[in-house]
């Protein structure tokens, strides 16, 4: 089954063709990061304008690189949410048009579920899908828009354990980088600035979370909060602006980065203590950070859990995970493409 996937939920314009749910025939991504950089974050209006301009070319490129023709496609898949409404609409209307034009089914996909599915994609070129991980798996999701812990029991069978109550980890790094004058996007900028720095030079205290209306039914021990960390950095820099000096910035960047990763790993290990898992997984754009990957590997070793991390090509937003998930599950596929609507606040359901 050949599926063309489209992903426009935020600031990446992406299209990909995936065969049989795992064989990535093409994976084309246009990152809008340069356009958003002057504003220190994603500007929704810029994002949707760029999707309109870029998507047709990305779709042509995805088909061209796949070696298939339009008539060889069996279905179209698209991210319907969660994400920016005006950006989701561009991807959805393109997918609806193509499905209608080609008389093929349209498979709407949850962006978060697609990120989870990136664990099942092999780094191309690959002759076979990766072996199935032992289940249940604890998955740490760390991206620019989402930070969460999920109990993964199989495709379509998830339990949302905890999530960030304020910023996602990627946003926290963006805001920290902005305070340190390191530019955007913050994750790569901080990683670069932290090279050779001492991650324990400056101690940032971890935010404790109590049950509240914000945590709802979630276990507070498995929820995240990064806003206090950002505020601590702000006040620290007001008291000690010399920390931004050439000899000290690397220590500050390394310490702030470590504090974000400590929060992630601490909550993940709490989840491992509270319940039994057969494996540990991690997905999302922040996972491209080498220090985080090393910390995750270390935690998995310590807990003696088999580890599965999304391949680097599929960490940031991409359409291969969308097309792959649709190809693997084959649905839900409404017969009528017109019935699909965007869902900017879509949640992961079991």
């Amino acid at each position: 089954m050949n599926v063309l996937g489209i992903e426009t939920s935020c600031d990446e314009t992406a299209a990909a063709v995936v065969a049989d749910g795992w064989k990535v025939l093409s994976n084309c991504i246009y990152s809008q990061v340069a356009s958003h950089r002057p504003y220190g974050g994603v500007v929704p209006e810029i994002a949707s304008r760029q999707h309109v301009e870029i998507l047709p070319g990305i779709l042509r490129e995805a088909i061209g690189q796949s070696g298939l023709g339009w008539d060889d496609l069996d279905a179209f898949a698209v991210t319907r949410g969660p994400g920016l409404a005006s950006s989701l609409l561009v991807g959805l209307s393109a997918a609806q048009s193509l499905a209608l034009r080609q008389r093929r089914p349209l498979i709407p996909v949850n962006h978060v579920e697609a990120h989870l599915y990136s664990l099942f994609l092999p780094e191309p070129p690959a002759a076979a899908p990766p072996p199935a991980p032992p289940l249940p798996m604890l998955v740490l999701m760390v991206s620019g828009g989402h930070t969460a812990l999920v109990r993964f029991e199989g495709l379509g069978r998830y339990r949302w354990l905890g999530q960030s109550l304020d910023d996602a980890a990627g946003e926290a790094l963006d805001k920290g980088a902005n305070l340190m004058g390191l530019g955007y996007p913050g994750g790569p900028a901080i990683e670069q600035a932290a090279a050779g720095g001492d991650p324990e030079a400056i101690s940032f205290s971890r935010t404790s979370i109590r049950a509240s209306p914000r945590t709802g039914d979630l276990d507070p021990d498995l929820c995240f909060s990064f806003s206090g960390l950002k505020t601590a950095l702000l006040y620290l820099l007001r008291r000690q602006p010399e920390l931004l000096g050439p000899d000290r910035l690397r220590h500050l960047a390394a310490s702030f980065q470590e504090a974000v990763f400590n929060t992630l790993l601490h909550r993940a290990e709490q989840a491992m203590e509270k319940d039994a898992y057969a494996s540990f997984g991690c997905v999302g754009g922040v996972l491209r950070n080498r220090r985080l990957r090393a910390r995750i590997e270390e935690a998995a070793r310590r807990r003696r859990l088999p580890l599965r991390m999304a391949p680097p090509s599929f960490c940031t937003d991409n359409a291969a995970m969308v097309a792959g998930l649709a190809g693997a599950t084959g649905g839900p596929a409404p017969a009528d493409p017109a019935a699909v609507e965007i869902r900017p606040d879509l949640r992961l359901s079991a």
Binding site: Y39, R49, L92, A94, Q96, L100, R101, P337
Partner: protein
């Protein structure tokens, strides 16, 4: 030549299929149906009525605006996606120009000023005059304070707007009373958009860029 015109710039959208300059089928989209769901619900029926499938289309003509950003993005995206598999031509046309042409034909007026609500206490304006292949732009699209609009509208021009009833109810409309208005909301229609695209394409006129006309920058510069 078979053509699909998609016009979603105003409160009342429309679709039309033309074949060799003849309208085969058309439909209106009310405000609540102007979203993608409504459009994709009526499109198959429109094709059935026209007897022309999406794969039979040679030309796609989306309305570029000015107008609702969401509507413009939808029209542009749908046109480009439908055109992709068979590498068909996308020939965008300014929605305001299509409205101007309809008014020129129906009211026998050679100069038409198309005006719309640009929000933020501003109006957008474009002025057209009769040309050989349709309207010719005399005053390019501009965002103006209402009090400045009359200065840019030539004597004898007929003013038309999709937002007339909304504008006329506002105090700042006083500054516009000197204009000669069509005193009702008039919406650009896909059949006129399609006719303009067909004529110009046939005469080899270059297509406008496949991007909506945005009357404001994506980010408002800080004062």
């Amino acid at each position: 030549m078979n053509l699909l015109a998609i016009e979603l710039s105003s409160r009342v959208g429309s679709l039309a299929i033309l074949s060799d300059a003849t309208v085969r089928a058309e439909c209106e989209l009310a405000e609540e149906d102007r979203r993608s769901r409504g459009l994709f619900r009526v499109l198959p029926d429109l094709c059935d009525r026209a007897g022309i499938g999406l794969d039979d289309l040679d030309l796609l003509a989306p309305g570029r605006g000015p107008g609702s950003y969401t509507g413009l993005r939808l029209a542009m995206t749908v046109a480009q996606a439908v055109a992709l598999p068979a590498s068909r031509t996308v020939y965008p046309v300014d929605s305001g120009e299509a409205l101007a042409w309809e008014i020129m034909q129906s009211r026998k007026n050679d100069v038409v000023a198309v005006i719309g609500d640009a929000r933020r206490e501003r109006l957008w304006l474009g002025v057209f005059e009769q040309g050989n292949d349709g309207p010719m732009m005399r005053q390019p699209w501009a965002v103006l304070h209402p009090r400045d609009v009359p200065r840019w509208v030539p004597d004898g021009a007929l003013a038309v707007s999709s937002d007339w009833s909304l504008l006329a109810a506002r105090p700042e409309f006083e500054a516009l009373r000197t204009l000669r208005w069509i005193e009702s909301d008039r919406f650009p229609r896909a059949r006129w958009l399609g006719a303009l695209a067909e004529t110009r394409h046939r005469h080899g006129a270059p297509a406008a860029p496949p991007t909506p006309i945005y009357m404001h920058p994506a980010v408002t510069p800080r004062a």
